[in-house]
């Protein structure tokens, strides 16, 4: 028991693909990487609505929701997610966004409450480090 207590709590993360886009190479690569970094990963599969994503997050009681968005619709999608998370009273969960995200939108996303943004090309090690550090603080 003592040994168990010395371990950090295992981070549980939902990697979700919101909307109609099916480009999931990035989401799957990230899922593999986080799993190998010791996190518990739930992958949503494709074409999920925000309601479905929040529902999975609730049922699985994840610590983090990570969205993968390639279409450029990241701002409206994140706005919708945050609203739904407030409605469901799970706004305390951490949100990360990855995908095709122009630099000028990163601060906008953070303003909406996103904890970290990982545009395509972000090294996996950098992302994992960021998540671990962030979750320690949280």
């Amino acid at each position: 028991m003592e040994e168990y207590a010395m371990h950090e709590k295992r981070i549980k993360i939902l990697i979700a693909k919101p909307g109609l886009d099916g480009h999931d190479r990035g989401a799957k690569v990230v899922s593999h990487a986080l799993k190998e970094a010791g996190m518990e990963v739930i992958y949503s599969g494709l074409h999920k609505t925000i309601d479905q994503i929040v529902n999975i997050a609730l049922q699985e009681d994840v610590d983090i929701i990570g969205l993968s968005i390639m279409t450029g619709a990241h701002i409206p999608i994140v706005e919708k997610l945050m609203k739904k998370m407030r409605d469901e009273d799970i706004i305390d969960k951490t949100v990360f966004v990855g995908g095709v995200i122009p630099a000028k939108d990163i601060s906008k996303l953070k303003g909406l409450g996103v904890a970290g943004v990982f545009p395509g090309g972000t090294p996996l090690s950098e992302m994992i480090e960021f998540i671990k550090t962030h979750m320690k603080k949280a």
């Binding site: 999931d24 190479r25 690569v29 593999h32 074409h47 279409t71 090309g121 996996l124």
Partner: protein
Amino acid sequence: MAVARYIKDEKDRILDVILESGIHVKPLYTPEDLSRTGFDYEKDVADPGQYPYTRGIHPLGYRSRAWTTRQYTGFGSPQETNERFKLMIAHGQTGLNVAFDLPTQMGYDSDDPMSEGEVGRVGMAVDTLRDFEIAFKDIKLDKIGAGLTINAVASIMLAMYQAAGEKYGYDARVISATPQNDILKEMVGRGAWIFPVEPAVKLIGDTIEYAMTVMPRTNPVSVCGYHIRESGATPAQEIAFAILIANVYIDNVLARGFDVDDFVGRFSFNLNVFGNMWEQVAKFRAARKLWARNLKEKYNVKNPQNLFLRGLFGGGGYGLTKAQPENNIMRGAYYALVAALSGAQTTALCSYDEAYTIPTPHSALLSLRTLQLLMDEMGLRDTVDPLAGSYFIETITKEMEQKIEEEMEMIEKYGGMIKAVSRGYIQRLVARQAYEVEKGLESGELLKVGVNIYKEGVSEDVELHEYNNESAEKQIEDLKQVKKQRSQRDVLRTLKKLESATKEGKNIMPYLVECCKAYATVGEMTNIFRQEFGEFQEPALF
């Protein structure tokens, strides 16, 4: 294996090169390599235009005809798409290639709640025939072919293309469409699937059968190794899986009692160009040979012309980087060179800003110019299959052939392509390999300029294509107008007939054409299929 590996000593001298497909490259190739691999000119390559077509499908290659350039285009509204088509034609582009927005690809109308924020974002929004009438206005549909980059509802788009053609006075027999129409690869990569495997394959069989009899200049299927490669497959797997997927479609049509020679000649392929250039050239040469052999030996195809692997070799999307985007212009030029050295009939390049956004007019034009200057300035039209006879190229072409066959055997052993896709075997395999590639990039085993070497000193500013919210609103408004103006009776009548035909398992194409002509919406037609077929259940990743 998914990463080309360079084994080096402490002085940066290369000791071994292992290509993605698992082939070891030697420092020197001599005639001995040809005898070691049992190379036989007549049997292994033969002259261009001769079986097994390793050297190309035309005896004179680009001397008789330069490649068709088909940059991927499609923006927001049908009006904007029409303008871009005309611009690209004015600049010398010889084929059209339509990008559709995601709601259209997924069978939702622009006013559907599922479409919110996506209308016209990554391509043209299509709700009814009115949109095709606008998009193809004043385009000579008997002179220029149109690629329709859509899969799950390709049958609907092909029907709509026929309806639009007829509206402008072009008979279905003279127009030439190339719908992508390869649903199995959507299930492996890209992800724009709707229906389960069996009905989805049946719809493809319907379009092939229909094109054969009604639209003979149409290429009803473009089998895409491309996206499978983008998802993490090796070059050998790209070809192996594409051939096996094509065989699934062939089998569907054969089961209807048709002769393979009556339709297989219209199949085309869409294959990728990024990666080690020698491996790509060997891949394309081996692919032509294996496709021809597959058709001749497995399907007993008689007409030599039906053995041709015709295709678009291009794109290269995964090879492009977000870091130092202007480097992608140079990458594109090399990818185009690979396509030309491999005898591509049709080509297109991902534009340098595609890691950020859909291409601006400027970047799309740069891609087109890249393709044109290879043909017209650099001498790529001079002689056919210029690399043939190289000890190196001929040796790795033979080795590639063997690797592709091994990958095909692996899938057959598993229980065939349909089972491998339904159960997620291929999806898990390529996802795992994609992860290996990323790890290779992080460890430095795989080198990428601007990403893990030479990272300093180039500006990262890219002009972005902006999403136009107003054009989305206008699209929804236009749909409202069409719905008001159309005859509701005709819509209901044609949809009802489509529903019965779907239930009875008939070929749905003629019914779709009637629905399109009555201005039924894409969503209305798709909903009939959704109700009847249900949806594909994605296999678990882990």
